[in-house]
C-alpha cells in the first residue's frame, strides 16, 4: 500500500498543498487558484482537497501532514524582537499578538480541524529547510550547494546548506532582521507597489533607469568580507513597525517615494525617471549581493551545482546573472521558489530527510495542478451560449494559425502550472514580432502597467538562434526563471518580448515535457518562420492565474482577447 505525505504552507502568503505518493508528486496547487484571492494565505483546505481527489484517497490515508514552518520558533523571534526594539515596537506588538493568540499558537489543533489529520501524524519543518528541500530534492543533482534567500522564516533570512544524496545539512545563515528579501520589499513599497506583489514591477521598472544610487544602496545593504551582508537598521523599520518597512531616512536618502498608481513615463517625467533610477539601483544592489552570496556558497560548499529557493530566487534578472557570472556549472531554481514551494519542500524533507527514503527523479514539468474534464467544459460552454468549435487534438495547429494572423489568444490546456509562471497551460499568447501587440496586451488584455515586459517561449532547438542562454541556465530557462540577452540580430524581430535593456525572461519549451505547447509553437513557426511566441500568464490585473473554465471564460469576456482555446475547444470572442 503506498505512503502519502501532504505538505502544507500558509498563514503568511501563498498558501499551498502538495501530495507525495511514495515520494512522487501526485499533485501540487496554490490555494489562490481555488479561492481566486491573489497570494491567499489561508490554510490551503481546497488545494489539499484537490490533491487528495487527484490521488483518489480520503484524508485518513495520509500518513504524514507536514507544515512548512516551526511556529513556536517564529513566535520566539517575534517576542525577542519586541523586547529588543522596545518601545518602538509598540504598534507592532499588539497586532502580532492578536494574530498569534488568535490562531497561530494553536496551529496543531487548527491543522487537525482544517485537514482532519490527527496531531500524532504531523511534522513541522523549518521554513528555510522547506525552501532548501524544495530546491534540492526536485533538482537532478546529487551534490549541490543550496542557497535560500527570502524575507524571513523563523530566524533565518538567508541560509546556506549542503545537499548530498538524501541529506541536507545546514552550513550557515544570516538572521533576522538582516534580510535581502525585506530590503527589496522596502524599496518596492517606496516605489508605490504592494509588498509581496509588486517586486516583479520593480524588476521591470529597473530596466528604464540607471543605477546612480549605488553608493546609497551600499549603505543600506552592506556586503562584508566573510561573504555575508547586513542591512542598515537605522533606515529600515520592518523589525519594529507593523506596516512601514522604512523610516523617513529612506526618503531623505533616495528622494520622494512614488505614490501608488502614478503613471510611469520615464524620459518625459523627471520624477518617474528618478524612480526608475532608484529601481535600477536596488536591482543592481540585489544582484551584487546575490553574486556575493553565491561566491561564498561555492567556497563553503564546493559543488558544481547551485540550488536556489526563497522568494528572492524568483528575481529572474538575478538568476540570469548568477548563471552567466557565478562560479557554478549548473543552476537549479525551484519553480515555486516563494512560500508556496515550502509545501513541496516540507513534504519532500519528511519523505527523504526524516523517513530516510531515497530520492526520485528530478522535477521536469510544472503541470501539477487542476485539470478540468472536457465534457464538463462542453457543458459549461453550451450553458453560457458561447460560440465554439470542438477541435480536439487539432487545437495547437489552429491556435498557431490564429497567432500568425495577429490574434491574441488565451490558451488553457491540461493541468495548471505549479508556481507563478505560465508555461503553456494557462497562458496568453501573441505574435512576438510586433511591439504594438505587446502594448495592446498590456493596455486592453491584462490592464497592467505599460512598462512591464513580456516573456518569450521558444522551441528548444531554436533557442540558441535567438537568445544567449549560458549552459548553467539550462534548467532555469525551462521554467522561465532567468533572464538572458536577446541576440542583437534577433532583437528587432522579437520586439514584443525584448525588454528595453535587450533581455528577455525566456522559456525554452521541451517537446518531451510540453508536447502540445511545442506543437503550437511549431504551427506558428510553420506559418511565420519564427519558433517564438509572446507568453504571459492568463490572468487579469490583480487576480491569480485562471484555473477552471469558468475563470477562463470570465477573464476572456472581460478583456480584449481575440480567441480562447479551452481544453481543445476554440471559443469565439464574447461580449
Amino acid at each position: 500500500m503506498p505512503s502519502y505525505v501532504l505538505g502544507i504552507s500558509g498563514l503568511y502568503h501563498d498558501a499551498a498543498a502538495v501530495l507525495l505518493e511514495d515520494g512522487k508528486i501526485v499533485a501540487a496547487a496554490q490555494e489562490e487558484r481555488f479561492s481566486r484571492l491573489k497570494h491567499d494565505a489561508a490554510l490551503p483546505v481546497r488545494a489539499a482537497q484537490y490533491c487528495l481527489e487527484t490521488a483518489g484517497i480520503p484524508v485518513s490515508r495520509v500518513d504524514w501532514l507536514v507544515f512548512y514552518e516551526k511556529p513556536l520558533r517564529k513566535f520566539e523571534r517575534i517576542v525577542s524582537t519586541a523586547v529588543a526594539t522596545f518601545p518602538r515596537s509598540w504598534r507592532s506588538f499588539p497586532r502580532q499578538m492578536h494574530h498569534w493568540l488568535g490562531d497561530r499558537l494553536w496551529l496543531r489543533a487548527n491543522l487537525t480541524s482544517a485537514f482532519g489529520v490527527s496531531p500524532e501524524r504531523m511534522m513541522f519543518c523549518e521554513h528555510h529547510l522547506s525552501h532548501a528541500a524544495s530546491a534540492f530534492y526536485c533538482s537532478p543533482h546529487d551534490e549541490a550547494a543550496i542557497l535560500c534567500v527570502d524575507g524571513v522564516g523563523e530566524w533565518a533570512t538567508t541560509s546556506l546548506w549542503r545537499g548530498s544524496g538524501s541529506a541536507i545539512e545546514p552550513v550557515s545563515e544570516v538572521r533576522w532582521p538582516h534580510s535581502i528579501g525585506l530590503f527589496y520589499s522596502a524599496i518596492t513599497a517606496h516605489l508605490g507597489f504592494a509588498v509581496n506583489e509588486g517586486e516583479y514591477k520593480v524588476m521591470g521598472m529597473a530596466a528604464y533607469g540607471q543605477p546612480r544610487f549605488r553608493e546609497e544602496m551600499s549603505r543600506l545593504l552592506r556586503l562584508d568580507s566573510e561573504g555575508g551582508y547586513s542591512v542598515d537598521l537605522d533606515t529600515f523599520s520592518w523589525h519594529w513597525h507593523p506596516t512601514e518597512p522604512a523610516t523617513a531616512r529612506l526618503a531623505r536618502l533616495l528622494g520622494p517615494p512614488r505614490f501608488p498608481g502614478t503613471p510611469f513615463t520615464p524620459r518625459l517625467d523627471p520624477l518617474a525617471q528618478h524612480h526608475a533610477d532608484v529601481a535600477a539601483s536596488a536591482q543592481a544592489a540585489t544582484e551584487e549581493a546575490l553574486l556575493h552570496l553565491v561566491r561564498h556558497a561555492h567556497a563553503a560548499v564546493p559543488a558544481p551545482a547551485l540550488c536556489l529557493a526563497g522568494g528572492v530566487a524568483l528575481n529572474a534578472v538575478c538568476n540570469g546573472r548568477i548563471a552567466a557570472e557565478g562560479p557554478h556549472a549548473h543552476l537549479w531554481v525551484q519553480p515555486a521558489a516563494g512560500d508556496a514551494g515550502g509545501a513541496m519542500g516540507a513534504a519532500m524533507w519528511a519523505w527523504h530527510g526524516v523517513l530516510g527514503n531515497p530520492r526520485g527523479p528530478a522535477l521536469r514539468s510544472c503541470a501539477l495542478g487542476r485539470e478540468v474534464a472536457r465534457d464538463r467544459t462542453a457543458e459549461l460552454l453550451a450553458d453560457l451560449g458561447a460560440r465554439f468549435d470542438d477541435l480536439g487534438d487539432d487545437a495547437p495547429e489552429r491556435a498557431g494559425r490564429d497567432l500568425a494572423e495577429g490574434k491574441v489568444v488565451a490558451w488553457v490546456d491540461g493541468r495548471e502550472e505549479w508556481g507563478p509562471r505560465a508555461l503553456g497551460q494557462r497562458s496568453i499568447l501573441a505574435d512576438p514580432r510586433s511591439a504594438e501587440v505587446a502594448e495592446r496586451v498590456n493596455r486592453s488584455v491584462k490592464f497592467r502597467e505599460p512598462f512591464r515586459p513580456f516573456a518569450p517561449s521558444v522551441r528548444a532547438g531554436a533557442a540558441p538562434r535567438y537568445f544567449d542562454i549560458p549552459a548553467a541556465a539550462a534548467s532555469t530557462s525551462r521554467f522561465m526563471l532567468s533572464t538572458h540577452p536577446v541576440l542583437p540580430e534577433a532583437q528587432a524581430g522579437l520586439a514584443a518580448v525584448t525588454h528595453v535593456d535587450g533581455t528577455a525572461r525566456v522559456q525554452v519549451v521541451d517537446a518531451d515535457t510540453s508536447p502540445r505547447f511545442d506543437r503550437l509553437l511549431g504551427a506558428f513557426e510553420e506559418a511565420t518562420g519564427v519558433p517564438v511566441l509572446l507568453n504571459t500568464s492568463f490572468n487579469l490585473k490583480g487576480e491569480p492565474l485562471v484555473s477552471t473554465p469558468v475563470d477562463a471564460l470570465a477573464a476572456f469576456a472581460r478583456s480584449d482577447l481575440d480567441t480562447l482555446y479551452l481544453n481543445g475547444f476554440r471559443v469565439e470572442r464574447m461580449r
Partner: protein, 245 residues
C-alpha cells in the same frame, strides 16, 4: 423595517458623504464589495445544478466586475487616498477588507438560500444608491456612474425575484429565508462593530501587556548581528520533526 432603513440610510449617507475623503473610502468599499460579489457569482456559475441559471449568474458576475472597475475608476478620479484604498484592484485585499472569508456564499448557502440572499442584497444596494442620488450627495460623474450601475442592479433584483417567487410557488419557505437574510445582515453589521470594538479593547490590553510585560526586559534584548552565523538546528530525527519549536 423599510421606512426605518431608508431613514437610517439617509442620515448615514448625509453624514458620511460630507466628510472630506470619506466618499473615496465608501466608493473603494463599494468596489471591493462588487469584486467579492463577482467571486460569489462565479462560484455559483461553477457549482449550480440548475443549468438554466448559469448564464444569468455569469452575466451577473461580469456586471459586478464592471461595477468594481467603475467604482475604482471614481476613487482614482476623486484623488489621492491611502495606500490601502489605492490597492483595490488587488483581489488579495478582499480578505483584509473582510469582504470574503473562507468559502463563497454559494458554497455556504446552497442554491435557493443564495438566490434569496442575492435578492435581498441587490434590493438593499438599489435602495442605498437611490438614497444617494435622491439626496444629490455624489459629484455629477459619480452620480452618472451610479445611474449606470443602477440599471444593472435593477436587472439583478428582477431575475433574483423571479427565481425566489418561483421557488416560493413550489412551496419553499422563501419569505422566511429573505427575512432571515435581512436580519443576518443586521447581525453581521453588529458583529463587525463588536469585532472592531473587541480589537480596540484587545489592542488596549495587549498594549498594556507590552508596557508591563515586555518593557522591563528591554536591557536583556538584542538584535542579531548581520553576516553569516552558525545555524542552530533541531536535526532531522522524527522526534525533532514532530515538535513545533
Amino acid at each position: 423595517m423599510g421606512l426605518f432603513r431608508r431613514a437610517w440610510l439617509t442620515v448615514v449617507s448625509e453624514v458620511a458623504w460630507r466628510i472630506p475623503g470619506r466618499p473615496q473610502r465608501l466608493l473603494a468599499a463599494f468596489a471591493l464589495a462588487e469584486r467579492g460579489s463577482m467571486l460569489d457569482m462565479l462560484s455559483a456559475v461553477e457549482l449550480t445544478e440548475r443549468r438554466g441559471l448559469r448564464k444569468l449568474y455569469f452575466r451577473h458576475a461580469l456586471d459586478e466586475a464592471r461595477h468594481a472597475a467603475l467604482f475604482a475608476g471614481r476613487v482614482r478620479s476623486l484623488g489621492a487616498i491611502g495606500r490601502a484604498e489605492a490597492a483595490i484592484e488587488d483581489s488579495g485585499q478582499l480578505v483584509e477588507a473582510g469582504v470574503v472569508a473562507g468559502t463563497t456564499l454559494f458554497e455556504r448557502l446552497g442554491e435557493e438560500e443564495f438566490l434569496s440572499f442575492v435578492y435581498v442584497a441587490e434590493a438593499d444596494a438599489v435602495e442605498q444608491f437611490e438614497v444617494l442620488l435622491a439626496r444629490r450627495l455624489p459629484d455629477p460623474e459619480t452620480a452618472a456612474t451610479l445611474h449606470r450601475i443602477l440599471k444593472d442592479e435593477h436587472f439583478h433584483v428582477s431575475y433574483a425575484r423571479t427565481e425566489v417567487e418561483r421557488a416560493a410557488a413550489a412551496g419553499r419557505p422563501m419569505r422566511r429565508s429573505m427575512a432571515l437574510h435581512r436580519w443576518r445582515r443586521v447581525g453581521q453589521a453588529w458583529l463587525r462593530f463588536s469585532s472592531d470594538f473587541g480589537a480596540l479593547m484587545g489592542g488596549f490590553w495587549l498594549g498594556l501587556a507590552y508596557v508591563v510585560g515586555v518593557g522591563p526586559f528591554r536591557l536583556l534584548g538584542r538584535l542579531e548581528p548581520g553576516g553569516w552565523q552558525r545555524p542552530e538546528r533541531g536535526g532531522s530525527s522524527l522526534a525533532a520533526a514532530r515538535t513545533e519549536g
